[in-house]
């Protein structure tokens, strides 16, 4: 009876020895791996909020795991480098970009971003070298043109105009290169040479930048009227950037980390109908990031989920933190209106209008006074709403909408000089010089010192205004 017990014990003894040996081996390997693994760089995370700091650590952890499993490739290293660069840790980023390129020496994107990083570190010769390399590696012409663009910009920083021009020339028909060349030539007194570049901006003929640079060229040629008209056209121009910045390349990474990531998640959840979950995430994101700005959708969400009192508390906290603004006074009015507190809503909206009237605020006040049947105030705010809509449409170059709104505005508020002025502007650009002249004259009859009406009236009187 005793022999089987002995065998069992012997077997157990052997198994236990094996387990202990394996554990010792595993323990040694694990501790050895830890000791020799790549330490996260000593980053001072006071430049970011706590959530972002945690996210950056997590990215590093994931990188280490992929290194340990032998799966790390250039993209793994690049992700870490981009994350550091996004938050201004350029020195740290630079080391990871180098590692990414060691993994894949033909990665033009990594080389390009490393060059941007060196540029921000003011290590210009190295940045130029890397941009050159990225240009030679790039498969599409636009990418290599962007490299030449940034080389040109570095030469501008170094105040080397001729080298900058050469670099921009290598960018050939790249619009930002053409724009910078034109700008540089005009600034250095070579406006005639800039003409082909100015023509190449035709594709963006209504961009603000196109109008402004053409105005500068006109001024350099001594053509004051053309300058005035280009500057005036810039007022109705489109916000299309004609230049590139490193911000453009790095901003997309911002929403991957920290409070920005949480804000995006919260917003997306809310959009999917999970308002409460979205709101909770947004609360955390807002509490974590001390410099983030309140967004109206956040308050609207609070209003929808938690109700008017909670939304008001949130708005008041924001006012304490960053001062009152018309946007949030308008929402404050909305919270009162939701409870039927019309008088308090009116107070909030009037306060918003005092700081800066908008079409939306005027429309809401119109609604309040329609309930009160106060015809004078209805007329005033209807006129105000039409004026604001008209001016916004004029600035957006939506001239027919502008004209219709401004006609209503001057009908409701015939003593508002600026309403007549913008009607004059709109009519002038639409080519109705008679109506334009009438409108400018009405404006000046109300306010003889209206500077721009005085400036533009002679242009329509002479009937020679180019459209």
């Amino acid at each position: 009876m005793r022999q089987p017990n002995i065998d069992k014990r012997r077997k157990l003894w052997r198994i236990l020895w094996l387990i202990v040996a394996l554990e010792l081996a595993w323990s040694g390997l694990w501790l050895g791996y830890r000791a020799t693994s790549l330490a996260a760089p000593e980053v001072n995370f006071s430049l970011v909020d706590d959530v972002t700091a945690a996210d950056l650590r997590q990215v590093h952890q994931e990188l280490m795991q992929s290194v340990a499993s032998g799966q790390a490739d250039s993209q793994s290293w690049l992700a870490m480098a981009d994350a550091y660069a996004t938050y201004g840790y350029f020195r740290e980023a630079s080391r990871y970009y180098r590692r990414a390129i060691e993994e894949d020496p033909y990665d033009s994107k990594a080389t390009f971003r490393w060059a941007l990083c060196m540029d921000r570190l003011a290590r210009y010769p190295e940045a130029i070298e890397l941009f050159e390399e990225a240009a030679s590696l790039a498969r599409d012409p636009r990418s290599s043109q962007a490299c030449y663009y940034f080389i040109g910009k570095i030469h501008l920083k170094l105040e080397q105009p001729e080298e900058a021009l050469k670099a921009f020339q290598r960018g050939k028909n790249h619009v930002p290169c053409q724009y910078e060349m034109a700008n540089l030539l005009i600034r250095t007194g070579r406006v005639a040479e800039a003409e082909p570049m100015l023509q190449s901006l035709e594709r963006y003929s209504n961009a603000i930048g196109t109008h402004l640079i053409r105005a500068r060229a006109a001024e350099a040629r001594g053509d004051q009227q053309a300058m005035t008209l280009h500057n005036d056209a810039a007022e109705r121009g489109d916000e299309i950037p004609l230049y590139l910045t490193d911000r453009g390349y790095l901003k997309k990474f911002h929403s991957l980390y920290g409070a920005s990531r949480m804000s995006t998640e919260g917003y997306e959840l809310a959009q999917q109908g999970k308002q409460k979950e979205g709101l909770d995430i947004l609360h955390t994101a807002f509490e974590q990031n001390r410099v983030v700005r309140m967004q109206p959708f956040y308050v609207q969400l609070e209003l929808a989920v938690e109700g008017p009192a909670a939304a008001r508390e949130m708005i008041q906290n924001w006012f304490d933190r960053s001062g009152e603004s018309p946007e949030f006074l308008e929402v404050l009015g909305d919270t009162y209106m939701q409870e039927g507190a019309v008088e308090q809503a009116e107070v909030a909206w009037l306060r918003a209008a005092k700081l800066r009237g908008t079409a939306s605020i005027h429309e809401k006040l119109t609604g309040v006074y329609q309930q009160q049947q106060d015809e004078e105030k209805i007329r005033y705010h209807q006129g105000g709403a039409a004026y604001e809509k008209g001016v916004a449409a004029y600035r957006a170059n939506d001239l027919e909408t502008a004209r219709l709104s401004l006609e209503i505005a001057v009908e409701r508020l015939p003593d508002k000089a600026n309403g007549w002025f913008y009607l004059g502007q709109t009519s002038r650009v639409l080519g109705n010089l008679t109506r334009a002249r009438e409108a400018y004259e009405k404006c000046l009859a109300i306010d003889p010192y209206h500077g721009r009406a005085n400036q533009f009236l002679p242009l329509v009187v002479s009937s020679s205004t180019p459209r």
Binding site: I6, R9, S27, L31, A39, Y87, E126, E159, R290, V291
Partner: protein, 459 residues
């Protein structure tokens, strides 16, 4: 034979007994091994945090010629002593003061401080009395993001009015949201007049008789963002002003008025930032006519012009400029750059201004001139908005000691509060030496070492 077999059996028994005994021995018995099997993973788990990763990526090779200022600037401690004291209440949140000035607002012989506070949309007067104590009074409220307040007797009735430059939004915004508001002093109460609207963000207004008709006109810097202007407002009486456009470009910050060419009338100067980076003057030709002149220009679009301060730095009887450069707010992250600092634009007459760098200081955002060491020449104070403040000890306030020949040595005054955007010099305690007041504007990390309005009183 039988005896032999018995002996063999006994021997076998003994051996079996010995083997059994050896199997049952406690060390290293099964219970110990079992214990080890449990303890080893736990011990490893407990110990592993103490085993720190030792590997690192190779250090970046930095060529000897590479700029080494990215870590931020620190300077030798100022030989002049300063006593640092806050003015006004402590910050509740991240303070945002856009402008400070030192002047004797109530003309009681003690210097006061005027501040613009976009966080409360107010212009505030810190009335000094007795020396070193400050009482806050509100000069104007509901002023949406005030950038600057200019004190002048605008209506020439013998008291001090305040002209407020209103941005409408402290953050980048190209909308038409700026205003110029006059706070008219009516027996110590301030009555509001809207002098200009339908313009983009207004950064500065200065007051002076620009057309020589005896009343006070104004020059306006409309900073905007993508679009902006320089205007002059012709005074037609009864608070009616006619705007005239002198220049159309984004990023005009200040419009200091002075007779720069010594011909007896006021000229207008301005600095254009937003990548154009140019100092311009509008020479007064009389009768409301002006001629544009370029005084300084650089193709370094990234230099970050941050203001323009008129001062007779070399005390030769004409007005020069200080040009602080170091704004890079528009970037995703604001980093030090080698060209940040301060230029002196020396007026050599006949509209010839010679630019000379007098300091290199990361993130320089504002400058002020004053005789800090009371040695009879004009020194300069600079404050920094971005100086790699994640590193404690990096300077936020420095003064440039003038050796009398306009050669300057930079001394560190303070490393906190950080993120300073505005500075003024004036003799706050009446000891004949000028002191410093600065305002903090905190919209970026680090969100520590905060200060709202801080004075450094020369000891």
């Amino acid at each position: 034979m039988a005896k032999k077999n018995k002996a063999r059996r006994n021997r076998a028994k003994q051996l079996a007994g010995a083997e059994t005994a050896s199997q049952e021995r406690p060390a290293p018995g099964n219970s110990v091994l079992l214990g080890l099997a449990v303890v080893i993973p736990i011990a490893t788990w407990l110990v592993h945090p103490w085993v720190l990763p030792q590997g690192s990526l190779p250090e970046e090779h930095r060529p000897p010629t590479a700029w080494k200022g990215a870590e931020g600037d620190q300077f030798s401690k100022s030989p002049l002593g300063f006593k640092q004291q806050p003015i006004g209440p402590a910050p509740k949140h991240l303070p945002q003061i856009s402008n400070v000035q030192i002047l004797d607002f109530d003309e009681d012989g003690l210097q006061d401080v005027i501040a613009c506070d976009p966080q409360t949309n107010r212009v505030l007067w810190y009335r000094q009395g007795p020396v070193g104590t400050w009482e806050e009074q509100v000069l104007g409220e509901d002023l949406l993001a005030p950038a600057h307040a200019t004190v002048a007797d605008v209506d020439q009735d013998g008291d001090r009015d305040v002209v407020v430059s209103i941005l409408g939004n402290i953050f980048p915004d190209d909308s038409v949201i700026g205003q110029v508001v006059l706070l008219e002093n009516v027996d110590g109460q301030f009555k509001r007049h809207l002098l200009l609207n339908d313009v983009r963000r207004v950064a500065d207004v200065q007051v002076g008789d620009l057309d020589g008709d005896g009343d006070l006109d104004m020059a306006v810097a409309v900073f905007g963002y993508s679009r902006g202007q320089v205007l002059w407002l012709e005074n037609h009486g009864e608070f009616r002003y006619e705007p005239h456009e002198l220049f159309y470009a984004a990023g005009t910050i200040h419009v200091p008025l002075e007779d720069y060419d010594g011909d007896g009338d006021l000229d207008i100067a301005t600095v254009v930032s937003q990548e154009q980076e140019e100092v311009l003057a509008f020479e007064n030709l009389g009768s409301g006519k002006f001629r544009k002149r370029s005084l300084f220009s650089t193709i370094n679009y990234d230099i970050g012009s941050a203001g323009l301060v008129k001062t007779d730095l070399d005390r030769d009887g004409d007005f020069d400029f200080l040009l602080p450069v170091g704004d890079n707010f528009e970037d995703l992250t604001s980093v030090p750059l080698p060209y940040h600092g301060c230029f002196w634009l020396e007026n050599r007459g006949d509209w010839d201004f010679a630019a000379q760098r007098i300091a290199t200081f990361n993130g320089t955002y504002a400058a002020s001139a004053g005789d800090l060491d009371a040695d009879g020449d004009t020194d300069v104070v600079l404050v920094s908005m971005f100086n790699a403040f994640e590193t404690e000890g990096n300077a936020s306030v420095v003064w440039l000691e003038n050796d009398g020949q306009q050669q300057f040595r930079t001394w560190q005054v303070a490393d906190r509060p950080i993120h300073l955007i505005t500075v003024a010099c004036g003799d706050l305690d009446g000891d004949g030496r000028e002191d410093i007041v600065a305002g903090g504007f905190n919209v970026q990390y680090p969100t520590e070492r905060l200060g709202r309005i801080t004075a450094w009183i020369g000891k």
